[in-house]
Structure formats: C-alpha cells, structure tokens
C-alpha cells in the first residue's frame, strides 16, 4: 500500500514537471498585445479575426490601464504590440525608446462622457451638478495610470471644480473598474469613455459629454524588444485596415 502511494506521488510529480515544458514546445506562434482597458471588446474581436486571417498564430491580450501597461513593458515584459488610450503614455514609451517610432500610428478616437446609474434619482445636466449634495461619490480612473482619469482631471481642473470635488472622488485601477462601480450603483456618477458606456448601456445612462479636454486619440505601435517584428507589424496593419476599422466603429470608436 505504502509503495503504491509512493509510485502514485512520483508519477504525479513527473507529470507536473512535464507540463512545464510542453508549453514551450507548442508549434503556434504567439503574439502578445498590451492594450488599453477601453479596447477590451473591440480588440477581442479584432484578435479573433486576425487569427483566422493568419492561421497558426495565437493573439494573447493583456488589457489594463495604459500607464500600468507602459510600466510592464519598461520592466521587460515580453510584449509585441502596445496600444494606449492617450498620446501621453505612448510619448513616454517613445522617450524611453521602448517602441519602434516608425511603426507608431493613430487608429481611433473616443469621447469622454459622464455616466450615472440606471434609475438614479439625481439627474446630472451640467458639470456643476456634480457638486450637488445628492451626488455623494464620483468615480474616475486614477490619473497617474489611467488615461480616462487623466482626461477627467483635465476637465475638472479647467472647470475649476477639481479642488471642490476632490473629497467625493473614487479612483479606479482602470476605466473598466470605474464602469463596474457605476453599473452596480456603488457611485452616483463617473467619467468613462463613450465606448465603455455603450458596453454597459443596460446599467448606465450617459448624462452628458465632458467638455474642455484634449482630443482623445489612440496610438498603436510595435514594441522595440519584440521577437516577432513581422507578425507584430501585420497586427498593427490589420487594426488599421478596413476590417479592423469596421470592428472599431461597431464598438463606437471614431476615426482618429
């Protein structure tokens, strides 16, 4: 009996070890794309279409706050393509020499909107309404890493509301976390991109478009340390192609 258990355990151990190496021997070519959280749905579909158009490739997505994605690439994450939700993050990547500057292209644009939960009692008709007492908590992305939060900060600062609203602000780790807070009714209002609001239109209402901010354009580029330069370039071209544009349009993105 004891011997049987010993054999079973050693069999399991060797099986586990062999798993570690099987992955490396896979024949598929893998492309890692780090993309802004607001691109989750659109890029998910673009990835599937790209895999069909390029048999034998597997697109792996890493969605998150653009600023956080930049830090990962800076620390040596094996990323092939980077798409951010603002020019500032991509500029920082270019300054650090992390991207191939010739491959950088703008592929979409977006709008910043203020949303409220479905069935919320307090309407928001103008930015000033956010300082009303009925609006208890306002969510936005952390301006340090989340582009949507950075644009929101710009809007509130230009309107002279930043200092007054500061105690009400809840910072999310990505624009999608902010969206989730509103969908669940945990906050009374929030700043997200128009495309995010469209994804959750059963739960949130767009109250108004945010004024006074820089135009929101999305850049994409090949990462300098890529080992799949050719495939990465093809993915960027695919996003910019008619087929890629069409998918982006269906999710509410506009021309850059």
């Amino acid at each position: 009996m004891k011997r049987a258990i010993f054999y079973l355990v050693s069999l399991l151990c060797s099986l586990m070890l062999s798993f570690c190496f099987v992955e490396a021997a896979s024949a598929e070519q893998e492309l890692i794309v780090s993309a802004a959280a607001s691109l989750t749905n659109a890029f998910g579909e673009i990835g599937k279409k790209f895999e069909i158009a390029n048999p034998g490739t597997k697109v792996v997505f890493n969605f998150g706050a653009s600023g956080a994605l930049l830090q990962q690439i800076d620390k040596g994450a094996p990323v092939d393509v980077f798409a951010s939700a603002d020019q500032k993050t991509m500029d920082q990547a270019a300054e650090k020499g992390l991207i191939i500057s010739g491959a950088r292209k703008d592929f979409a644009s977006n709008e910043l909107v203020i949303i409220i939960p479905h069935g919320a009692g307090t309407p928001v008709k103008a930015l000033q309404d956010l300082s009303a007492r009925e609006i208890g908590k306002i969510a936005m992305g952390n301006p340090e890493t989340v582009p949507a939060g950075r644009y929101a900060q710009e809007v509130l600062t230009n309107e002279g509301l930043w200092e007054r609203l500061k105690p009400k602000l809840i910072f999310g780790e990505s624009v999608r976390q902010v969206l989730d807070y509103v969908s669940r009714g945990e906050v009374d209002a929030a700043f997200v991109f128009a495309t995010d609001a469209a994804v959750a239109k059963d739960h949130v209402i767009v109250a108004l478009e945010a004024p006074k901010h820089k135009p929101i354009t999305y850049p994409i580029s090949v990462v300098g340390s890529t080992k799949n330069r050719d495939l990465a370039g093809r993915f960027v071209d695919f996003v910019l192609s008619g087929q890629g544009r069409e998918i982006l349009f269906t999710y509410g993105f506009k021309k850059p």
């Binding site: 600023g67 830090q71 800076d74 890493t145 910072f171 999310g172 780790e173 945990e186």
Partner: protein, 229 residues
Amino acid sequence: MLSVIPSLQPLWLTLKVAGVATLSAFLAGVALAFLLAKGRFRGKEWLDAFLTMPLVLPPTVLGYYLIVLVGRNGWIGRRLYEAFGVTLMFTWQGAALAAAIVSLPLVLKSARAAFEGVDQNLEKAALTLGLSKTGVFFRVSFPLAWRGILAGTMLAFARAMGEFGATLMIAGNLPGKTQTLSLAVYSAVQAGNDSLAATLVLITSLVCIIVLVSSGSILKTSYLKEINR
C-alpha cells in the same frame, strides 16, 4: 527624507485595519471554535468547512461575494444603507471586514484544535465543583487553550496586514482613506514610482519582522513561565 514622511500614513492605516480585523476575527473565531470543539449538533463539520472557505477561496472570489452582499445594492448593504445611510464600500471599515473574514479561519482552526486538546476531565471536574458553564470557559478551557489561540491570532494579524485582493475590490484604492501598505506598493509600482515602492516595501518588511519576532518571544516566555509553574 521628507518623501518618507507622507508614506507613513498607509502604515498607520494598515495597522488600524489589521488591528480591528484581528480583534473581530479573535472574538468570533474563539467563540465559534469553542462551539465546534465542545458543541454537539448536526452539520457541525459543514459549518467548519464553510467558515474555513475564505482560507481556500481566491481573494477575488471573496471580494465578489462581499460586493454582492454588502455593496450599496447588495443583500445586506441595501438594508444598511436604507436604515442608517452608511455603506461599507470605499471605507476602511470595509477593508477591515474583508481582512477579518480572510483571517477568521486561522484563529478558528488553531483555537478549535487547542480547545479539543484540553482534557475533558478537568472541565467536568470544574463543573462538579460548582463552576458555571461560562466559568468553566473562562477559568479552565480558555487558560489551557490560550497558547494555541494566540499562535492563530498572530497568523491572523499577519494575514490581515497583507490582505490585497478582496480589499481592493470592496474598499477601493483611495490614498489617505483605504490605501493600505499592500495597495500603496501596488499603486507605486503601477505608476512607475520605484523609490516610493522601495520605501514602502522596506517599511512593510520591517514591520512584519518586528511583529513575528515579538510575538514569537511572547509565546516563548509565556511557555517557559508555564512549565516552571
């Protein structure tokens, strides 16, 4: 050196959250452990398994349960909000609740084992000598089991200090309000602020070593006292 001073705020918050969480986990854990060790009722092992789940479940699963339960539209949260106008979302009390739940099993498991290790004859003797049931608990069972309970509580405090996933989901990551050390480290790394991250990591490591060494020596001295008695 000046940059170090504002970064101490997450430390006090962490100690406050972990302290409140450990105290709650201690009180609930000891009471439940005594019930499980000495009580006789149906579904006892099911209750034990249920209470131990937070130890096994990924913190994100726990965070989800908490949002669904105590969020403003949650099952408990809605009633709380309607009755008192308070919500645990985005508050340090919410963080303490998350930390208390993840550290409860650590108190519970060691306390149950400790209570079960107490000689039943001693408890029965105390009863026949006229002590009430609560008297037996405070004067016989607890004093004999307390070393095991203390060890479990120590682990619970360490676990509460390091809690991250469920805390991020229910309390958010609000600097000055709910940003504990583990969240502050995460934010600093995400934003590429390496010097702040390094400072916070050093503080955290230092505090953990102090906690472990001092609680270890408390356990040891009290054990020596006991065997010398």
